[in-house]
Amino acid sequence: MSSFGAVLPTGARGILSSCRLQLREKSIAPAFQSLQQVRGLKNQKNKSKGKAETKSSRRGPLEFTQRNLKDMEQFALCDAMRYLRAFEIGRERTASKYEVAIRMRTRRDGPVIRNMIRFPHAVQTESRICVICPSGSKHAKDALAAGAVLVGETEVFDAVKAGKIEFDRCLAHPDSVPALNKAGLGRILGPRGLMPSVKAGTVIEDVASRVEMLRGGTIYRERDAVIRLPIGQLGFSPEQLRDNLRTTIESIKNECAGLNDRINKEIHEVVLSSTNGPGFSLNGEFKTDDSPETSALTGV
């Protein structure tokens, strides 16, 4: 700019200088503003600003650290169960559970897996569910397929009025609510906490998925590259536990495969533990020559 000024005649220089002033005013003002903003920020939260500044250099690795498993002692399922059953001795059978922690090979900033599975052998004791919706409708069929024990409108009302309440959860479809209110079941179901209401979240459109959820579906979620979930009661046989574990791993693999093509997510390690026991890294085998018979690893 200044070099232009030197070449131009003095008259023109005057014009240019006026331009320059304008320019400078414009260019400087935002700079000041930004400075002031930064300073204000600095006073408010010093730390976060420092982090943002040095983000690129301090961010750390892109992926979660994975250790080489060759140093880790790994166990067959039956052997791990043998240890865990020893650790859980004398604990309340219903309270103690087998748990699994599945370590993923994944990026820190990638999507996380979150899903619900139904085990072939239920971990929680299942509850009997009643669904109030027009019988013969699509919802009724779906609810039955999802595992509700009692589905319908008038037949449910009659049974309840006759004093036969053979369920511990009750859901209703919005279409049936008028009929439900008309039947006057509030006096019977209300005190037992079974009366469906919008407030309690028991009057819903998608009855079937809710039934599925209530019936022993387990929600799992990846946190810091690890998925942890209970997979069995302590009395389970190794075969039952194997089935549940297989379902879990397949479900996770499906989820991983369903992600974006560019995202690579794999299972790194599977660790079996129990409520009061340590974690045993599994090597994927069912049993070894030293493991006891599977019947010895079942029950109390």
Partner: protein, 211 residues
């Protein structure tokens, strides 16, 4: 998850150490079961332990027996169901019920203590089972184990060379641990000190800028 070394050490120290609170690949015990039962001693079908959760009234030994011995027994005898009833009755029984198949061992009655105890928490013998109750009050867990051995003919597990080596490794790590811990603590403290100094210095600069 914690790093592998820590995990492995913890696992090893739980499953292997010489005096652990927890199971034990190495010590204690094979209860007689059909293949290795003696003529003198019939096979054991199951065990039941009752004790009160607090130690007053002579329940300490029974509680320790549960913590220290039962896990190992269970590990070495996975086929024997073992049940435990922790009660809140300090005056109640502290007893181990041993269920024999068909008949009692010849030593069982002599071991059960001066006066016979009744354990209402123990399940009743089923079918051909015969049960003997050992009174555990005011006994320490080693004494209890000796009595169990005497009445059931249980044999202690003999350490293999591999087990010995594992134990030695765990003991080595344990011996080195205090030194390592001190060194790590010093390193962390030094880092913290330096950060604090830097923060203070930065604060001074800020102040001088503002004034």
């Amino acid at each position: 998850m914690v790093n592998l070394f820590k995990r492995l050490h913890k696992l090893k120290s739980l499953t292997n150490t010489p005096d652990p609170r927890r199971p034990h690949r190495n010590r204690r015990s094979n209860l007689p079961n059909p293949p290795n039962s003696h003529k003198r001693i019939p096979p054991i079908t199951r065990l039941h332990l009752t004790y009160a959760q607090k130690i007053y009234g002579g329940h300490q030994g029974a509680r320790h027996f549960w913590r220290r011995v039962l896990p190992r027994l269970k590990y070495h005898n996975p086929h024997v169901p073992i049940t435990v009833s922790p009660t809140t009755e300090q005056e109640g029984p502290a007893a181990l019920t041993v269920y024999f198949h068909e008949r009692l061992s010849s030593t069982a009655p002599g071991i059960s203590g001066p006066k016979p105890v009744t354990d209402k928490y123990a399940p009743a013998p089923v079918g051909e089972e015969k049960s003997a109750v050992i009174d555990l009050k005011n006994l320490n867990y080693e004494e209890i184990w000796r009595r169990v051995q005497a009445s059931t003919g249980a044999e202690s597990y003999v350490l293999s060379p591999v087990d010995e080596e594992d134990l030695k490794k765990v003991a080595d790590v344990k011996a080195r641990a205090p030194g390592d811990r001190a060194r790590n603590r010093a390193m962390r403290q030094a880092k913290r000190d330096q950060e604090r100094m830097l923060a203070e210095a930065r604060g001074e600069v800020e102040k001088s800028k503002q004034t």
